[in-house]
Symmetry: C2
Subunit: 198 residues, 2 copies
């Protein structure tokens, strides 16, 4: 099924902005019919991954926290600036330089919920958030957790509420059209609502 | 659990780039302690959704195509410029002006695989790809499909291979660390690998 022509080749990647956390890049490439084209996308990396070939480390981790004592998943409701509203999502955060995926998950989970991660159940490979728009990748960290929710100790941009979600509550939440849901959280909660499993 | 101070208020949103399909925006806002801050993010909309309040229409649709005759899911392997490599993902596409979610799903699926969508099983609400980075939202369209895979009839930037995935094959694919996977596709295939259900 592959196209029979030559493969796509990258000519250059140029940065269009000079922001701190995310920038826009324009990639010039030759398509498989040897025509020059461009593709514009966002990256948290400068230079972006296509330029360095450094895809092994994810940009962020997403925690799927299973509270064994109650049989519920823990999610957060958090104000997100680009949405100008609250988002229902899993605790998450950007990986710091040299930090392991597991350490990042434990740190972010405690910061955002005041609870503790215990046993790591499994982790995903680095997987890509929206690959036409960005080279951002994340790792999903499924883990058990304990403790009681408290306000996170984070900066004032973060207003975080912690919610415990049973399979029945997951089904009800996933059906609500009026709330803003993170993609990953909606998909995991939908499956959790069917059988209560991760 | 809500912060006790005032709520976050948007002051202004300014566009940093003048690209066709995606731009970078900087939002200035007052945090809950009344300090001025900024947040930079990408949007496919100009002005972005936080400026217009127009969140109801998704940017893109993602098709989860279930091939009833074989009991397999259909995914594609497609070259993605920002990843400089092939990505395993579901067929997907941007919603055109005035197009319904169902019509977009049928059009994109046929363009990308040469197959046909039949019955829509369910659709998700608009859900958010990565809400710290972008206001992009997508709708998941679960549907049955028929037909045989052929090269898509799309432009030369798209080299698309169609794959049929059984629950056993889904488990094997999800465990492979060396391939690049779309987040949504990895999560749906993981769940499909457990029980063969959607």
């Amino acid at each position: 099924m592959q196209g029979s022509g030559r493969k796509i080749k990258i000519v250059e990647v140029s940065r269009l902005t000079t922001e701190r956390y995310v920038n826009l890049f324009k990639m010039t490439y030759m398509d498989k019919e040897d025509r020059e084209k461009t593709w514009t996308y966002a990256s948290r990396n400068d230079p972006p991954k296509a330029d360095t070939g450094y895809f092994a480390t994810p940009d962020a981790i997403i925690i799927v926290p299973f509270h064994e004592a109650s049989g519920k998943l823990v999610i957060i409701k958090e104000f997100r600036i680009p949405l100008a509203d609250y988002l229902y999502g899993f605790p998450a955060g950007l990986l710091e330089d040299g930090e392991s995926v597991e350490d990042c998950a434990k740190r972010e989970f405690e910061e955002e919920t005041g609870m503790q991660l215990n046993r790591i159940i499994r982790t995903s490979p680095p997987i890509y958030s929206s690959s036409g728009l960005t080279d951002e990748s994340i790792v999903m960290v499924y883990a058990t957790c304990t403790g009681h929710a408290s306000d996170g100790g984070t900066g004032s941009a973060e207003e975080i509420e912690t919610l415990f979600v049973s399979p029945e509550e997951a089904r009800a939440l996933c059906a609500r059209q009026e709330i803003r849901f993170d993609v990953k959280t909606w998909l995991v909660l939908y499956a959790f609502g069917i059988d209560g499993q991760l």
